[in-house]
Point group: C2
Chain length 320, copies 2
């Protein structure tokens, strides 16, 4: 593999050239040897994108809603990035939902960059790759980055929770209330959307949600009260209200320093994940040179307990 001219690639991405953006994301996803060079080049260009997470069970209309939000932001003249995160089988490594082409409405718009992403193996997986891809979109000049995740697995929920603003989507008549509560996604919303609101049961879903979230209870004067917005994303109904709610939440966070706090927390998670991934890589290297295997054989034989073995392992890693 020939070395990439990173500064040139970054300059092209800044100009909005989709192939340069794609190449950069592939570089950060694939943990290329130039990953560090890419990340160092991107760092000073980041921190400008407003990152919005959208999550919800399959069938609530996430892609349609994301597409409608893209249209609304494009109308306002903003450059938009979309990161669509698919869960994948823990063993096959293949994408569960496939890499279907999404949101073809925007495929030819140079102001929109859409990327689909699946879990990449075990070394940190999505928790590791998604923030890096967001970083690329941010550095490439996207003013809004929409991160669409299926609210099923823990890592997908965590990715959504790490956005500047988290949108939780539901739809009437899917038993979503209880399902969402089980999956823990109800607890992360800054804005709630009941999509497909032209169907029976939309008001009941909104009421149930209002009740479960305790939105009727009184809050402190400066507290954020998550709104519940009814939409029909397929006809763009209610989408302007969602954008308005997002802007309100952003302004509220800005005023109170919450935005900076959230971004610092997100960066802390990112740094932690990279550190752990780096340690895992070093351990995999040790597995290759059979030191880990030798320790493990002694543990399996009962000669050593696993904690003592982990100590030896950590010592040998930090020597390196």
């Amino acid at each position: 593999m020939t070395a990439v001219d990173v500064p040139e690639l970054v300059a092209q991405a800044r100009e909005g050239r989709p192939r340069a953006v794609a190449r950069l994301i592939s570089l950060v996803e694939g943990a290329s040897p130039q990953l560090r060079e890419v990340m160092a080049a991107l760092a000073p260009l980041t921190g400008n994108a407003y990152v919005v997470g959208l999550t919800g069970s399959p069938g609530v209309g996430k892609s349609t809603s994301t597409s409608a939000l893209v249209s609304a932001y494009r109308k306002a003249g903003k450059r938009v990035g979309v990161l669509a995160v698919d869960p994948s089988s823990p063993f096959s490594g293949g994408a569960l939902l496939g890499d279907r082409v999404r949101m073809s409405d925007h495929a030819s718009d140079p102001g929109v960059y859409i990327r689909s992403m699946a879990t990449r193996g075990h070394l940190g997986g999505l928790a590791w790759a998604a923030p890096q891809a967001i970083r690329v979109l941010d550095a490439a000049g996207c003013e809004v980055v929409l991160v669409e995740t299926v609210g099923v697995g823990q890592s997908e929920v965590e990715i959504a929770a790490q956005a500047d603003t988290s949108v939780v989507l539901l739809a009437p008549g899917m038993g979503d209330g209880i399902q969402a509560a089980k999956a823990g996604i109800l607890e992360i919303g800054d804005v709630y959307v009941v999509n497909k609101a032209d169907r029976d049961g939309a008001d009941a879903t909104a009421r149930e949600l209002n009740h479960m979230l305790g939105l009727g209870e009184s809050r402190g004067p400066g507290d954020w009260r998550p709104p519940i917005i009814k939409t029909v994303a397929a006809r763009a109904q209610g989408i302007d209200e969602v954008v308005e709610a997002l802007e309100k939440h952003r302004a509220w966070m800005d005023e109170r320093g919450v935005l900076a706090e959230r971004r610092t927390a997100r960066a802390a998670r990112e740094v932690e994940t990279i550190a752990v991934t780096s340690l895992r890589t070093r351990m995999a290297d040790l597995h290759g040179d059979s030191r880990l295997e030798a320790l493990a054989a002694r543990v399996a034989a009962g000669e050593l307990d696993p904690y003592a073995a982990a100590d030896v392992l950590l010592d040998s890693l930090t020597e390196a």
Copy 2:
């Protein structure tokens, strides 16, 4: 908390006293200060239990099958441990399925030890706690340890995959074939069970499974060919065949050194997980003393890239 007399507790557990076993599992689950002492005391007593993982989607009859297997092994005079692993919400920390009392048939049998376990927070979670609990049951003299997991989350599948022998359960008419394939659990079976075989569609499910697994294809002469066994666990039908298949698989592994390989691989994963957990704990400590937060703030501000920050973090951890 008063210090526990670990050698005394281990001696009592060896005698099969259930309260001592329970206490030891609580100690290793809860990461008590005496964890290392407990693990060191247990190590020389381990390596004798035959660990069988049972996994499958909700509703296939895992608990009933586990209970029937316990009866069969008890009839053969063996001491049996059962570890029932429940997934839990990523955010609430509460158990999804609750800590319901299972398998009350065996509740009064001193030769059976049953433990239910939920995810314990983020620090390694099940991947960390389950092997430790298996270790306790092994050291306590259980000759067979049945680990029952819901084949839904990635960590549950991994736990099942790390057993000496993995049993994958299905039931007719649940669309299980495709569901299981998605979840990746189909790829881990050494023995397949189609439970509720008195229902319509059992033969079709077995055929579909046979086809998906390519069991009709020719294999090498020494290769293991996973059997597909039809059972009605609620009436103990087919359970003797399952036990026979388990014993055959165990003998096959023993002959070829596969058992030792699997146990070494399991120990390697365990040691790795403990090392990573230990690193995460140290990082959480750094978060407390605000060093991580200071780094993260610089990353959020674009002054530092996350890889450079992770390097600084790792350096400060290894100094400690």
